[in-house]
Each structure stands twice: as structure tokens, then as C-alpha cells.
Amino acid sequence: MLAGGKSALMAALIGRMYYLQVVESDRYKTLADENRINLRLLAPRRGRIVDRFGVPIADNQQNYRALLISENTRDIEYTLDVLGRIISISPAERRRTVRDVKRNRSFVPVTIRENLDWEDVSRIEVNAPDLPGIFIDVGQSRNYSYGADTAHVLGYVAAVSPKELTGDPLLELPGFRIGKAGVEKVHDTALRGSGGSSQVEVNAFGRVIRELSRTEGQPGTEVVLTLDLGLQQFITRRLEGHSASVVVLDVLEGEVLAMVSTPGYDPNAFNRGLKSEEWKDLISNPMAPLINKSIAGRYSPGSTFKMAVLLAALEKGVIAPDNQVFCRGYVELGDFKFHCWKKHGHGLVDAKMAITQSCDVYFYEIAKRTGIDRISAMANRLGLGVLSGIDLPGERSGLMPTKKWKRGALDQPWHQGETLHAGIGQGYVLTTPLQLAVMTAHLANGGVEITPKLTRLVNASVGDGTTNGADEKKSLGIPAAHLKLVQEAMAEVVNNPVFGTAKKSRIKEPGMEMAGKTGTVQVRRITKTERDAGVIKNKDLPWKERDHALFVGFAPVHEPRYAISVVVEHGGGGSSVAAPIAHDVLLVAQRRNSAATGVGTIVQTEPTARKSPEKVAKG
């Protein structure tokens, strides 16, 4: 009886064992593995960004951190005291360290300080015997060596926001950074690479016992830009103090050799994490340092628009190059008077002279004859008022008004007076500095369509890159004679010693002469009383009410290679402020031979396999 009861109980035990170890075994096996195996992601190294000559402009810096493992030290406070005598530890850092030590298990490393300099690192290493539990760890952090000079083009990296999570577990790694703007954003996936993983066995307390397997990730791809860093830096220095944009294009390839928007900002600060006052300063600054004015600033093109108007008129045949228009300082349309910038008029002007002297009356006249729709169509063909398609995020299209547009957008009929305003690049017409540069490149290269681009090469690995570009050349269909006339007129603007509006900015070096067109854009309405009393000088106005200074140009005149657009917000006159900047930049660009080197010559690791920049420069 007693034995029977015991046998029954023993059978129950075996039954239970069978249930757990055979029937439910698979479930528990999974649970056991979940217990012990942790998958740890290994962050890949972010790809570098280099300029066209291979100079790294965004790379990864060794970030030395002082870490503390509390179980290896007997007295945390004492150890921190000793460390505090060797390197400086702020009270806040100390508090955070002590707090983190309490929150984590004793074998989890806690960061005491980041971004140590070499001196601190060596001091800690030397004193290591006195600092139990403290060790130095090397991480990677993004570094932009040229800071604000390249900020708007490169963009920046920063911590992933919840909205940006795509399910890629890499993004969920603590401390992982992704591209938030500029090239960093456009090529984020390539730059990021792919994460590796490490399977580790952990015990019940989370301590790593051993690594079970490891898959190395693919480091990020190197991105080669079309930018010439030297030119970019020169322009940044030249624009100091201005709220301005300069874009330099290679007129043949459409490559962006320089794109500067000032003032800039320090992209490293975004990576590090901005303090709230820093952020407030950035967004409340009237010069809008965060905006890339080159692609997102919209300005009336002013007189730099006149080439487009002339080409539209010539194409429609409403005027021949030799036809003259008499300028007496104004034209009348109905009850309105449209003034020329020169109060007493230019007298008789033909097409070339109208550009050279920037006669408004001539353009009022031909704009009236051509009509707004044709002017806008020509402007669009030249690249104005349409997205250029550059490989940067945040580009804006500007605006080329048409009758249909006004009917749709404002529900109003088009007035002929508005055509006249458009004829001198004012009114509804809005363009970006990049578009002005593209237009100028089109004028300079003989009407071959280009798309501006910033990326030359995305190097998957050495020698195995994908080239960006080498697309077919397409003509804009503008008669060569018309373009020749415009080019000659633009050459006169700078080089005509008597009439040229930018004659003071002539490039004297033989073979490097430039051509161009000035533009001065009113940002306020000039009333009749003011006009009668005499227009107030720019320097007497508050900054916000001063004219925008513009200049578009190309060089060298006879074999154009570089196109430039200069926009200085509230800078004053196009000829007095913008043209000298263009002079300096185009001179430097030609001296540096910024457009030299063929695609893909920059890979430093394999210098013999391709032509070096010097060789090409000579040839």
C-alpha cells in the first residue's frame, strides 16, 4: 500500500519530466537560448567625404573617452578624486558618473568624460596604477575639419529621431548618427555602410562570457565631391560679414566647384549636441545661418535676368540686335511711369549696349513686345524658376510667372505693367543663386544643357566606384548667333572701360578675362515723392531695406570654363559689391585650375593607376 502510493508519485514525477523535457522541449530550448545569447550590433565606420582633389572634408575622429568600471575600484569617490587631480572633471560630470554607476551593474563601463585630448589621455595612461577601474576607450565621431566653410554642402550628422527609425536596427544603436542635411543626407545610406553583429553569451547578470560568432560589417563608402576645397575656403573668407551666396560651376560638366552660403554654422556642434542657447542664436539670427541660400534663397534676379529677356525677344523676332530703342529715363504705360535706373536716360541703345549699360527702358520695351509667357519659357529653358536637379536636399524652385500661373495662384488677370517689371527681373520673378549660375553656364557653354552636381564618385571600394554623370549632352536649342551676342555683351559689361557697369572689376590677367552682368535689386518700393526728392542712398538705410547686390559671370571670356553667381543680401550695388567678389573668385578659380582633373583621379590609395591632377593640369 505504502509502496503503491510511492510508485504512483514516482510515476507522476516521470510524467512531468516527460512533459517538460520531451513535449515542451523546443519551447524551453528557445527560452534558454534567449536567456544566454545577446546579439550586439557593431556600428560600421562612416564613409569619408573628400573634395575633388581627395582632401578629406568629413572624416571620423578618434574620440577618446575615460570610462570607469566600478567593480574594479574599491572606492569610487576616492578614485574620482585622484582622477580629478590629473584631468579636470566638472561637478556635473562627476554627479552623472556617480549616478550612472548606481544605475548600472558593477561591470558595465560608465563614461566619465568624452573627447579627451592627447595630453589627458597620456596623463591617465601614465597614472593608470593609481586609477583602478579607469580605462581609456576609443570611439569614432564625425569630424568636419573645415567647419562652417563646408557646412551647407556637407550638412551634418546627428542622433536619430524617432521619426527616422526605419526598422534598421543600426539606427537604434545608442549614439548612432545619421546624415540630417546636405551630402550627409543625400548619400546617407552609402556613407553609413552596413552593420556587423556579434553574438555573445551572457550570464544571468548580463556579463559577457564569450563571443559566439561575429560578422564584420561593411564600412561606409567614400564620397568624392566636385567641390574644390581651396576655392570654397577662399570664397568663405571673401564673404565674411555678408549674408551672401556664391556658386561656381564648371560650365562644361555642371560640376559645382564651390557653393558658399554665409554666414555658416559649425556642423560639429550638431554632432556633439547643441546647447539650447546656441540653437536659439542660430534660429533667431536675421542672416539665417542655417539656410543654404545658394539653393533655398529666392531672390529677384534684377538685371541679371536681362539676358533671358533678350534671348526671348530675339527668338520671337520682335527686335533685331541692331534695332535701337530710345531711353529718356522712363517709359509710360497708361497712367504709370516706368523708370530707368539712370534718371536722365541712356539715349539710343541697341541690344549689346542695353546689356552693357543695363538700360531698363530697352528691356521694358522688348519685354512688352515679347510677352510674359515667352519670357518665362526662355527663363525656364535657361534653368531659372525650375529645380536644377542638384544632388542636395532642400532645393527650392523659385518662380517664373505666366498668365496662367497668376490666374491659378492669385485668381487675377495678368497686367502688362507686370510684364515690364519682369523685363528687368523684378516683380514676381524669383530665382535661386544656383539657378543664376546654371543660367550663366548655359549662356557660356553655347547652350548645352547641364545639370549641376556635387558628387563625382561614390567609391564602394577602391577602383570599384560608380561614377555620377557622363550623361549625354543636350542642346537647349538657342541659336548660336544669339548666344554669341549675349556673350559679347556680357564681356562688354566688364571690359568696356567707358560704359561697362562692372568696368572696375575687370580681370586684367591675359587669358583670364571675365564677362558678366550686374544686378541691383530693390527690396522696398520707391515712392514718387522720394524719387522726386532724390533716392535715398543705400548706406543711409537700415540693413534690411538695402538693395540686394547681384552678379553673374563667366571666365575666361574666349573659352569659358567657370560660371559664377554672386548674391549679397542687402549688400548695395551689383557693380560696387557683387562684381568685385566675382572678380576675385574667378581669378582664384582660374589660377587654382579648379576644374582640372578627370573623373575618378582622386583615389589616393591607387595613385599610379590613374592620372594625377598635376598631369592633367599641364595637359
Binding site: 505504502l2 514525477l13 523535457q21 520531451v22 536567456n35 551572457v202 550570464n203 544571468a204 547578470f205
Partner: protein
């Protein structure tokens, strides 16, 4: 060995040694060997800190066991009550001046070693009850009043042990006593009454339970309710068992144990570790070994020609069985965690010693199976 003036034609020491059940001792050694192997594994392949000490204890225990086996059964019978009273006194001392450990007051620090009187009581109670029922006839046992004294004999130590508090040992004492009552001839319906009364008394008992005991019962009923707290032991133990599967992960390859997910793997949860590393095959194998030990225990008991020996045998084998059952059922999540070690395998000196003393008595019963003892302890002709 001394015969203390008993005048039966006794066996010589050599004859007694010959009579000792060596096959049974060999089974015990095999079980202890399995235990040492598991302790070696629990220490990640090291004799320290557990296996070597456990080995020493087992060797000493083995000698003590054989010595006890050779002592005449009648001496044990004569001193049964004395032994019981002394142990009961020790329990009172523990209550007043014991060392507190693991949330309970169980130990007496004797300088050299720690004594756990509740362990001694497991033996003492069996001896005392056997002594009491030895003198009773069938009619005596049938009278309810006859059962009052043995019930008090159980109730006193049970109450003291429960106060420590040690629910596991209390249950062992009560259930082993039940087996002796049954062997002595107490009717089944009387057990049924006690059982019903017990169930009825449960709400009352609940009131007197310590917080951690209540927690253990609640956790047993639903371990997943508190996976990181009290339910952790049971869940991790089941994971370890289940993941071991039919053939196990291999000696020293158990992940749950070696990575410390399994708590107290060298003591209460050592069966889990064994079943993780050797699978169901290993677990059933160990149960088979225990079953063999129990079968031999029963066989020895049944061959005994005196009532005292039979009762002692029943008490000892039942205690052994209860250890095995409660421990294994506990680690498999069949009953709440009560903290009972796995006999001969779990690390721990006191439990090992108690067990081997018990088996020593069982062997003594076997060696002296043909000794006739009178109703009052004298010889029967």
C-alpha cells in the same frame, strides 16, 4: 560492540559486518558519486569549493552509518525517548538562542560546526514513534485515545520547526510520522479525517504564514506573474529542464546552470542541473537509482521480525522518499518551492549526515532482523 547487559545470544562483530547489506551501501555510493560529479560541474569543472568537501563528508558519514548499523537495535529502542527529549530540548534552545540564516532560525553554533536540531528530529521522531507503537496491540492502535500521545509527540517538534520557520522540514516530519502510523495499523479513514481537517485549517494556517512563505505559494500557483522576482526560480528551472530535452546538453555543457540563470544549483536545484546536462534519460536514471534504494529499504524492513524495526524502516524509507519526491516535484514546478535538498546529491553536510544516520538505523534493522523484542523492550522467547 557493547551489549549493555541484554541477554540474547548475540551476533559477533565479524558476523554483523558480514550481515551488513553491502549492495545497498554500494547503491548509496553510486548516488553520492553522481552528486559529486554534479557539484564538480556546478563549480565549472572544479573540485572546489563543493565537491571535495562533500566527498569528505560522505566518507565520514559512511563510517558513522556503518558504526550505527553495528549497534544493537535494542539499544536504539531503549534510548529512543531520551534521544527524542534531548532533541526537543535542542529545538527549544534554537528557538531561544539559534543563529539566524536565510531568513530562518535553524542553527545552533557549537563552535566546531553548526548543528541543525530539526534535522536530528527527523531521526528522533521516527525512533520515538516506533518505540511507542512497538508496545501497542492491534486493539490499542484502534482506540483513538491511544493515538493522543504520539500525536502530541509529533505536534511539539512540528510546531517548533514551523516557528523557525521551516515549512519543508515540518511537512517531512508530519508525513514521515504518517507513514509510521499507517504501518502501525492506524485505519485509513482516520488519515482522511486528518486530511480534511488539514484542508479546513488551511485558511487559518495562511494567517500564520510568513510573507515569504505566502509568496512562495502564490508564485507556485502562477510563476509567470512575477518572472524576475519570486517566480524566477521556478521559471528558470523549467527552462533548464525543458531545454535539456531527451538526452541533455552534455556534462558541464548546461547553459542555464553555468551562466547562473539557475539559482542555488549546487543545493536545492541540483536535479535541474543534472536533467539539463543529461536530459530526461539522466533524470529517469537517477529516479531509477533512488527507486532501487527504496526497494532495498522496503525489503530490509519487511524481513525484520520485530515491530520496532519495521516501524523504523518504514519511517526512514518514507523520509528518504519524501526528500526525493518533494525536491524533484519542486524543481519541476509541481509543488511550491519549500527548500528540501535532493538526498545524497545536494551540497550540504547536515542533510547528508541525517540521511546516513537514518540509513545506518535501517541497516541496523536489517542486521538485527531476527532479534525478537518483547512488548516492553525485553527479549521475547
Amino acid at each position: 560492540m557493547s551489549q549493555e547487559g541484554l541477554n540474547t545470544p548475540d551476533l559477533t562483530l565479524r558476523q554483523k559486518l558480514w550481515q551488513v547489506h553491502w549492495l545497498f551501501i554500494m547503491l548509496l555510493c553510486v548516488a553520492a558519486g553522481v552528486g559529486l560529479a554534479m557539484l564538480y560541474s556546478a563549480a565549472n569543472g572544479d573540485m572546489q569549493p563543493w565537491a571535495s568537501r562533500q566527498f569528505a563528508r560522505f566518507c565520514i558519514g559512511l563510517l558513522v552509518m556503518i558504526a550505527i548499523a553495528l549497534i544493537d537495535i535494542r539499544i536504539w529502542m531503549r534510548y529512543a525517548y531520551v534521544f527524542y527529549v534531548i532533541t526537543l530540548g535542542l529545538l527549544v534552545v534554537v528557538e531561544l538562542a539559534g543563529t539566524i540564516g536565510m531568513g530562518a532560525q535553524r542553527w545552533l553554533n557549537l563552535g566546531y560546526f553548526n548543528l541543525q536540531p530539526s534535522e536530528l528530529m527527523k531521526i528522533a521522531l521516527v525512533l520515538a514513534l516506533a518505540r511507542y507503537f512497538h508496545g501497542g496491540s492491534i486493539e490499542d492502535v484502534g482506540r483513538p485515545t491511544y493515538l493522543i500521545i504520539p500525536l502530541v509527540m509529533i505536534a511539539l517538534p512540528a510546531a517548533l520547526v514551523l516557528r523557525q520557520p521551516d515549512l519543508g522540514t515540518t511537512l517531512l516530519l508530519v508525513m514521515a510520522s504518517g507513514a509510521i502510523f499507517f504501518t502501525a495499523g492506524v485505519r485509513l479513514w482516520k488519515f482522511a479525517i486528518v486530511l480534511i481537517a488539514g484542508i479546513g485549517g488551511m485558511p487559518v494556517a495562511w494567517q500564520f504564514m510568513r510573507e515569504y512563505q505566502k509568496q512562495r505559494v502564490l508564485t507556485f500557483l502562477n510563476p509567470e506573474s512575477d518572472p524576475l522576482g519570486a517566480g524566477y526560480h521556478i521559471i528558470q528551472s523549467k527552462i533548464a529542464l525543458g531545454s535539456g530535452g531527451l538526452f541533455g546538453k552534455g556534462f558541464m555543457q548546461g547553459t542555464q546552470g553555468h551562466l547562473r540563470f539557475l539559482p542555488e544549483m549546487q543545493t536545492d536545484f541540483i536535479f535541474t542541473m543534472l536533467a539539463e546536462e543529461f536530459g530526461m534519460v539522466g533524470g529517469v536514471g537517477l529516479l531509477g537509482l533512488y527507486a532501487l534504494i527504496m526497494i532495498y529499504g522496503f525489503a530490509m524492513m519487511l524481513r525484520c521480525r520485530n515491530q520496532f524495526g519495521r516501524l523504523v524502516g518504514a519511517g526512514i524509507t518514507t523520509t528518504f522518499f519524501l526528500y526525493v519526491f518533494i525536491n524533484i516535484a519542486m524543481v519541476m514546478g509541481l509543488i511550491p518551492v519549500v527548500g528540501v535538498p535532493l538526498p545524497l546529491i545536494s551540497y550540504g553536510g547536515t542533510a547528508m549526515m541525517t540521511l546516513l544516520i537514518g540509513f545506518g538505523l535501517l541497516l541496523s534493522v536489517w542486521v538485527h532482523r531476527d532479534v525478537m523484542i518483547g512488548r516492553r523492550g525485553g527479549d521475547e522467547v
